[in-house]
């Protein structure tokens, strides 16, 4: 009677996500050098039930067995058994190899976008929130919450049925809620518990911020022109601290803002506009003349 040596060609992962497929690579040999031929192999799963397998021959007495992890989180064990076998005139003993691993829930992650800023104190606003399963599971209808800094839920919703365009499985919804009555940078967190899913998922959270500003009193109109031609410059970005706007095709942008002194920045690639300070005491209109900056020739890479 010959024995059979069974060894793993490479370690089995200690942990895989629930429901994940994994491969066990084995090397099976007879110490006496017998060719074991078609060695009968069977697998018993974590539920003690036989598992249907289709072993793939590998290199030199090796084979690969594809298995699937259970959909339950926890420790799981398989037994890969080789039955007694007659080969090259010799009887070979049966043997078994235990396989153990843990399963973990699928991860989830969030995206938060279309976040307006600034928002006037106390006013309601809307944001988009999307959640994603690392296994691209459908998350439609699942609950999502927005919490303020104190941990109070300020908005609740359920994810829609269609992934956000351009993503593989980012299920999303739109929520609206009110800004606080306090000026400054406000933070919220978003919580996705990932409960009630067929496959276990771990919940997640993320955060986002908005500049909360006082109610505007006046209107600042900024007109951006090209200095030499006086042609209007469209799509120039206007920034005054937390306040922001972009010029329209006529080169105009309007910003509603309270009294105060602000540093104005005008930004557009290909132009250079000087920064300036703007005092807002009432409705104000200013002109900004931007100078065309010739496109940088990247080959003219000189620096003094």
């Amino acid at each position: 009677m010959h024995s059979i040596d069974v060894e793993l060609c490479e370690p089995v992962p200690a942990e895989v996500p629930v429901g994940a497929d994994f491969v066990v690579k084995l090397k099976v040999s007879c110490p006496e050098g017998c060719d074991l031929g078609a060695l009968p192999v069977s697998v018993t799963g974590p539920d003690q039930q036989p598992v249907t397998i289709a072993p793939t021959p590998g290199e030199a007495d090796a084979c690969e067995i594809a298995l699937t992890a259970p959909r339950q989180v926890g420790e799981h064990a398989w037994s890969i058994a080789f039955a007694p076998h007659e080969s090259e005139g010799a009887r070979h003993e049966g043997c078994a190899l235990p396989i153990r691993l843990r399963t973990r829930p699928h991860a989830t992650s969030l995206a938060i976008w279309a976040v307006p800023s600034p928002v006037v104190m106390g006013e309601r606003f809307r944001i988009n929130i999307g959640a994603k399963s690392s296994a691209a599971c459908g998350l439609e209808g699942k609950a999502i919450e927005v919490l303020d800094r104190a941990g109070a839920v300020v908005a609740r919703g359920r994810l829609g049925s269609t992934p956000w365009p351009g993503t593989s499985a980012l299920f999303w919804t739109e929520l609206d809620f009110a800004a606080p009555e306090q000026e400054g940078l406000a933070w919220w967190s978003v919580r996705f518990a990932a409960t009630d899913l067929e496959t276990p998922h771990e919940g997640t959270s993320s955060r986002f911020s908005i500049a909360v500003v006082p109610r505007p009193e006046h209107r600042l109109t900024v007109e951006v022109l090209e200095k030499d031609s006086k042609a209007p410059i469209a799509d120039a970005q206007i920034r005054l601290g937390a306040y922001r706007a972009a010029t329209d095709p006529s080169g105009h942008a309007e910003v509603a803002m309270p009294k105060g002194t602000y540093d104005l920045t005008v930004w557009k690639v290909g132009y250079d506009a000087p920064g300036r300070t703007v005092d807002i005491h009432g409705d104000t209109a200013i002109k900004v003349e931007a100078v065309v900056v010739p496109p940088e020739n990247p080959d003219a890479y000189w620096m003094m």
């Binding site: 991860a107 992650s109 969030l110 995206a111 938060i112 976008w113 279309a114 976040v115 800023s117 600034p118 999307g130 994603k132 690392s134 992934p163 956000w164 351009g166 993503t167 593989s168 499985a169 980012l170 940078l185 933070w187 997640t204 993320s206 955060r207 986002f208 911020s209 908005i210 500049a211 970005q237 920034r239 005054l240 601290g241 937390a242 306040y243 922001r244 920045t265 930004w267 690639v269 020739n297 990247p298 080959d299 003219a300 890479y301 000189w302 620096m303 003094m304």
Partner: protein, 545 residues
């Protein structure tokens, strides 16, 4: 200075004894150790002058030596000529009052060129060897005329003043008309017009150009004159005799990690070399000459923190995203380049994160302060170099830049990633130089914090001037944006005649250098390559005693 330098060749050494170092791969029978008798070296080919490298300086040297009556063999390791000149923008910075300058009424002189390029207040001029600058200045008009005489055409539009120059001196060559012979067509690779014209002229004048011939070592009489080179080629190993001189025109060193770290130990392997995958800057000429005792020179130029020794990538999401150099899908090298990269027009559209997923500097800055921050120590076991830099941006940024972030524009095999969320994006980032996964939580927090700066209008961490756009709209992207190395600004020490000088200050007889392999003059671009190529070619043709 040169008159004081001794000439080893004049010493009473035996011309029958040879020294060849670093001759791996060379015909063993021919180079069987030090001190073999002259008769035992089998020369497979012979010429008066042998030029190593057929780039800008090598072609200029070969033509000039040929014009002086020497027979010339040019060996080039690449499958085609041109070196980095093939991919250059073709900006030739020659002055002195040449014909095109005169045509545009630009007053200039050799003296003015010299004064400009030894300016103490210019970082690109301060550290140069003024003996060499004097030669450069005096040869400017002749170099311009040389190019014209050899068929090079210029766009008649002066540019400048640039760098240390006080008058306009830059004129751009006309791009080579056959797109199949320009390896990065469609992107203003006007240098192709310079090297192709010089190649044409060189061949017409009888220069024998041997492609895919890689110099393995320089053959020298025992402690004496350089008399040839050993070469590896697809057809076998060759020894090529140089009766009058060998000219090193092998290009620079910025692709050679070990060599470049001589000057800046931070420049570890993650920093790629511009002009790859066409022209490798392997320091081969420098190393072969240093095997014979050659010295480096004016090494401060390499680390003067000016010019284009290192630059932002400009094209992100591909391995070699230098400046305006793009390998389009029609390029014969596209299968190696793998992607065109995404051309950045506005650095406000992204943040840069390090190998840990954290911002490290103001993204719109392109100064050496940015590069210092990119190469900073970030904890962990990697002590030198800063590791990969990744540009992180969102769908809105891609729309603003009008990018289509898919192949062939990006290389998903290690240089570009996308995901539905930032937390999923971070661990996807895998690259040979990314030694550990980026934490999704860290990247998410990096972006959340940056977005708060956009909301408030102030970057409290790195003073990015008015951070403009949040990174929030899915999908999200990570693109390779690690700074890339370009200019070689130091190299071998040479006399004003281009003769290589050893560490004791003595000329190595029969050995010359030019171009990026030559140290002492840190001007960016083609002009110094043409000029010192001519100088070396002219003097090599005369031969050394």
């Amino acid at each position: 200075m040169d008159k004081k330098q001794s000439r080893n060749a004049s010493a009473p050494v035996s011309r029958r004894a040879f020294l060849s170092k670093g001759a791996a791969g060379v015909s063993a029978a021919a180079l069987a150790g030090v001190g073999e008798a002259h008769a035992q070296v089998k020369w497979d080919l012979s010429a008066d002058v042998v030029v190593i490298g057929a780039g800008v300086s090598g072609l200029a040297a070969a033509i000039t030596a040929r014009d002086a009556g020497a027979s010339v063999i040019s060996v080039e390791e690449n499958f085609d000529i041109g070196g980095r000149g093939m991919l250059s923008g073709g900006r030739v910075h020659l002055g002195g009052g040449h014909a095109l300058q005169q045509k545009f009424g630009i007053k200039d002189s050799a003296d003015q060129v010299f004064k400009d390029w030894v300016r103490h207040d210019s970082m690109v001029a301060r550290y140069s060897d003024r003996d060499l600058v004097r030669v450069f200045a005096d040869e400017n008009v002749a170099s311009f005329n040389f190019l014209i005489d050899n068929g090079v055409e210029f766009i008649e539009k002066p540019i400048g003043p640039e760098a240390a120059s006080t008058v306009p001196r830059t004129f751009v060559t006309v791009e080579w008309q056959n797109k199949d012979e320009v390896y990065a067509p469609g992107g203003g690779r006007n240098g192709s017009g310079l090297v192709r014209r010089l190649e044409q002229s060189a061949r017409r004048k009888g220069v024998q150009i041997l492609l895919r011939h890689e110099m393995k070592s320089i053959i020298r009489e025992q402690a004496g004159k350089v008399v040839g080179i050993a070469v590896a080629s697809p057809g076998g190993n060759l020894n090529i005799e140089a009766k009058r001189g060998v000219i090193i025109a092998t290009g620079g060193h910025t692709g050679n990690v070990n060599f470049r770290r001589t000057f800046d130990p931070r420049l570890t392997e993650e920093y790629q070399q511009a002009c790859m995958p066409y022209a490798y800057q392997g320091a081969k000429g420098e190393l072969a000459a240093m095997d014979l005792g050659a010295s480096l020179w004016a090494t401060a130029n390499q680390t003067s923190e000016s010019g284009a020794a290192i630059t932002k990538t400009r094209h992100i999401g591909c391995r070699w995203g230098y400046s305006s150099l793009v390998f389009v899908p029609e390029s014969k090298l596209f299968h190696l380049a793998k992607a065109t990269g995404l051309a950045v027009s506005d650095w406000q559209n992204m943040i840069f994160v390090d190998q840990n997923g954290q911002r490290f500097w103001n993204e719109v800055d392109g100064s050496y302060r940015f590069f210092a921050a990119a190469m900073a120590y970030r904890g962990g076991t990697k002590l030198n170099g800063g590791g990969p830099i990744w540009a992180i941006f969102d769908a809105d940024a891609a729309a603003r830049e009008k990018w289509d972030p898919k192949p062939p524009h990006v290389d998903p095999d290690g240089y570009f990633y996308s995901a539905d969320t930032l937390a999923e994006l971070a661990p996807k980032i895998k690259n040979p130089h990314q030694k550990q996964p980026i934490s999704g939580a860290v990247l998410e927090e990096t972006v959340n914090r940056y977005n708060s700066f956009v909301a408030s209008g102030t970057d409290s961490d790195f003073k990015k001037p008015t951070p403009m756009y949040k990174i929030e709209k899915p999908p999200f992207y990570a693109a390779w944006a690690t700074p890339i190395l370009h200019d070689t600004l130091t190299g071998l020490r040479s006399s004003t005649r281009g003769e290589v000088i050893d560490t004791r200050g003595a000329i190595i007889a029969g050995l010359y250098c030019a171009g990026e392999s030559q140290g002492g003059f840190a001007q960016h671009g083609l002009a110094r390559c043409v000029t010192f190529g001519r100088v070396a070619g002219r003097n090599a043709a005369k031969g050394t005693a």
